[in-house]
Amino acid sequence: MKKANYCIAAAFLLLAAFVLYSAANFEQTLIQDDYVGAAFFPELLAWMTGGLALFLGGLTFRGKFDGDGRTLSDLFPGEIRIALAGLAVITLYVLSLDYFGFILATAALNFALLLLFGVRNPLSLAVFPAAISLAVYGVFYKLLVVPLPEGLFYF
C-alpha cells in the first residue's frame, strides 16, 4: 500500500502542476470578469490538491499506512489480465459501433465477453448475445426512441 500511496501522491502533484501551468495561459475573451476570473477556481483547487497530495505522502512516510501490508502485486494480481482483456474488448466495441451498427457490434461484444469469461456452451454463446442485443435495441430504440448508432445495414 505504501508504494501505491506514493504513486497516488505523485500523480496528484503532477495533476496540480499541469493545472497551474494551463491556468496561467488562460486568455481574456469577449466577456470580461474583472474580479475572480477564469483561472481563480482551478488555481485554488490545484494548490489544495498539491497540499493534500504532499500530506498523503507525508502520512505514508510517517507510517500511517504501515498496518496495510498489501504490495502492488497484491493489489493487481495476475488475474488483471482478464480485466485488461475486457477493457480491450470494450475499446474495440466502441471503435466499431459506427461501422457495424448497434445490433451487430453489441452482439459481438457480448459474444467476446462470454468467451473471455469461460463460457463454452454453443447454445449460450449463440443465443445470449443475440437476445441481449435485440432486447436492449428494442427497449432503447423502439420504446424509448434513443437513436442508437446505425452502421452498414441501417441498424
Binding site: 477564469a38 493487481f76 482478464i82 480485466a83 469469461f117 436492449v136
Partner: protein
C-alpha cells in the same frame, strides 16, 4: 381543501386517469433503473405523446414517470452498484454493501418504503405550505447558492470511507474535472485541448456509470474464475420488519423534509438532496460509524431525501411558474401546452387539475410502494444469476446508458476512461462518491461565487452579510467538525 382533494381522488381513480398513473409509475421505475436513462429524459421523451391528451391524464402520466424514475434508480444502485440516476449515487454507499452481504431484499424494501415516505411527506408539504416554501426559495441568490454548494461539498468528508485524505483528494479530482469546459462567465474553453465535445465539460451520467458500474465490472472480471463465496450463495429473502420500519421513520421523515426543502429551491435537485440527507442522517445517528458498511439508515436517508424532492420541485412550478429542477422544467412546458398558466392563478382557475395532480401524487406513491415491494423478489433474482452472464449485461447497459444521454460516442469513451480510473481508485482504497458529489456541486459553487462577486462589484462581504448563506456556511463547518470527531473517536 379537503373536498377538493376528495374530488381529486375521485378523478385519479376514474378509468380515464388511473391506467395512465399505473403506466407512468411502472415505466418510470424501469427508466430509472436503467443506467443512463434519467427522470428528465423519460419525461422529455414522453412529452410529445401527451400533446393530444387531456390535461389531467397528461400531467398524471408525467408525474408518475417522475416519481417512479427517482425511486427506480435505487434498484440498480443496490443490486449492481450502478446508480440508475445520479439521484441514487448516495444509495450505493450502503445499499450495495448490504446487498453484498446477501441482504438485497432488505435493502430493496427499505428503499421502496423510504421513497414512499419521502414522496408522501413532500406531497403533504406541497399541499399545505407551498406558498411559504416558494417565497423562501426565491430568497436564494448567488451568495446563498454558493453557501449551499459549500455545505454540500463539506459532505465529502463524511463519505470518504477509511481514509479522509484520499477521500478529499478524490473530491479535489472531481472539482478539477468540473472546471473542464467553457468558463461559466467568460466562455473561455478551459482544459478542453481543442476537443469540442468537452466544451460543456464531462457529462455527469457517463462519469457516474464509468466510476461505479464499469469499474465494478473490471473488479469482478478478475474474480470471474474464483469459486463463488459462501456469502453469495446464502441469500436471505426476508424484507425488513415493521419494527425496523418504525425505527427508521424519524430518519425518513426528517430526510423527506430536507428533500422537500432542497427540491423547492430552483436548480438544486434530487442528487444533492440525497447526499445532504445521507450526511445529516449520519451526523445525527447514534451508529454513525456503521454508515458505509450496509446499514438500513444509510439507505433510508438518501432514498427518502431524493423522493422528497418530487413534491418540493413542484412547489416553485405550481406557485411561481418557475421549475424546481430539470424534470419540472419539462412539466412546465407540458402545463403551458395544455393551456394552463402555472403560478398563483392556477390554484383559483384550475383547482380541479391542481388537486387532481396532488391526489395522483399520493396514489402514485402508494402504487410505487406496492410495485416496489412486490418486485423485491423478482429484482433479487438478478444477483443470483451467474456472474459470467451478468457482467456482459452490465457492460452493455453501461455503454448504452453513457451513449443515450447525449447520443454521443464520445461519452462512451468518457465512460470507459472513468471505468479505468474507478478501477484503479478501488485498488488504491480511494472512494468514488466524492467525485460524483464534486462534479455535481463544483459548477454550482464556482459560478455562484463568481456571480456573487459580480453582484457585489468585487466585494466578498456577502459571505457574512447574508443570513441564509451564513447558516449554510455554519452547517458546513458543523458537518466537517462532526466528520473530524468521528474519524478521531474510532
Amino acid at each position: 381543501m379537503v373536498s377538493l382533494l376528495l374530488d381529486g381522488l375521485r378523478t385519479t381513480f376514474s378509468p380515464g386517469i388511473f391506467p395512465f398513473l399505473v403506466i407512468g409509475v411502472t415505466g418510470g421505475i424501469v427508466i430509472g433503473a436503467l443506467p443512463g436513462l434519467t427522470a428528465t429524459m423519460g419525461v422529455a421523451v414522453l412529452l410529445p405523446l401527451t400533446f393530444g391528451m387531456e390535461s389531467t391524464p397528461a400531467l398524471v402520466l408525467l408525474a408518475g414517470i417522475y416519481i417512479g424514475a427517482i425511486y427506480g434508480g435505487s434498484i440498480s444502485a443496490i443490486l449492481l452498484k450502478t446508480p440508475g440516476t445520479p439521484a441514487a449515487a448516495a444509495t450505493v454507499l450502503d445499499g450495495y454493501e448490504l446487498a453484498r452481504k446477501g441482504e438485497a431484499a432488505r435493502a430493496l424494501s427499505v428503499s421502496a418504503i423510504a421513497s414512499f415516505t419521502g414522496g408522501m411527506v413532500s406531497t403533504v408539504m406541497l399541499i399545505t405550505i407551498s406558498p411559504i416554501l416558494a417565497n423562501f426559495a426565491l430568497r436564494f441568490g448567488a451568495p446563498e447558492y454558493f453557501a449551499l454548494a459549500v455545505f454540500g461539498l463539506s459532505i465529502i468528508a463524511s463519505i470518504s470511507g477509511k481514509s479522509p485524505v484520499k477521500g478529499l483528494l478524490a473530491g479535489m479530482f472531481g472539482l478539477l474535472i468540473s472546471t473542464v469546459g467553457l468558463d461559466p462567465v467568460t466562455s473561455f474553453p478551459r482544459f478542453t485541448f481543442g476537443e469540442m465535445n468537452l466544451f460543456n465539460g464531462f457529462a455527469i451520467i457517463p462519469v457516474l456509470i464509468g466510476l461505479f458500474a464499469l469499474a465494478e465490472a473490471f473488479v469482478q472480471m478478475e474474480k470471474i474464475f474464483e469459486p463463488s463465496h459462501a456469502i453469495e450463495t446464502n441469500f436471505k429473502r426476508g424484507m425488513i420488519s415493521l419494527k425496523e420500519t418504525i425505527a427508521l421513520m424519524p430518519t425518513m421523515i426528517k430526510c423527506a423534509l430536507i428533500g422537500t426543502f432542497i427540491g423547492s429551491i430552483p436548480g438544486a435537485g434530487a442528487d444533492i438532496a440525497a447526499f445532504v440527507s445521507y450526511n445529516e442522517a449520519r451526523r445525527s445517528s447514534k451508529n454513525g460509524s456503521e454508515f458505509g458498511t450496509g446499514c438500513l439508515e444509510g439507505i433510508a436517508a438518501p432514498e427518502a431525501g431524493n423522493n422528497g424532492v418530487t413534491g418540493g420541485a413542484m412547489v416553485p412550478l405550481l406557485t411561481l411558474g418557475v421549475p424546481g429542477d430539470a424534470v419540472t422544467a419539462i412539466l412546465l412546458g407540458a402545463l403551458i401546452i395544455q393551456g394552463l398558466q402555472p403560478g398563483p392563478l392556477l390554484f383559483t382557475k384550475n383547482a380541479d387539475i391542481v388537486y387532481g395532480l396532488f391526489a395522483s401524487l399520493f396514489v402514485g406513491n402508494i402504487l410505487m410502494l406496492i410495485i416496489g415491494l412486490l418486485g423485491v423478489r423478482l429484482f433479487c433474482r438478478v444477483v443470483e444469476l451467474p456472474k459470467r452472464f451478468i457482467i456482459p449485461v452490465i457492460i452493455t447497459l453501461s455503454m448504452v446508458g453513457a451513449y443515450s444521454m447525449n447520443n454521443s460516442i464520445f461519452d462512451m469513451w468518457v465512460c470507459v476512461a472513468f471505468g479505468v480510473i474507478g478501477y484503479i481508485m478501488q485498488k488504491a482504497d480511494m472512494p468514488s462518491s466524492p467525485i460524483i458529489l464534486a462534479v455535481i456541486l463544483g459548477p454550482m459553487a464556482e459560478s455562484n461565487l463568481r456571480r456573487a462577486v459580480l453582484m457585489y462589484e468585487g466585494s466578498y462581504s456577502f459571505l457574512w452579510t447574508r443570513p441564509i448563506g451564513v447558516v449554510f456556511l455554519a452547517l458546513a463547518a458543523l458537518s466537517l467538525y462532526s466528520s473530524y470527531r468521528r474519524a478521531h473517536s474510532s
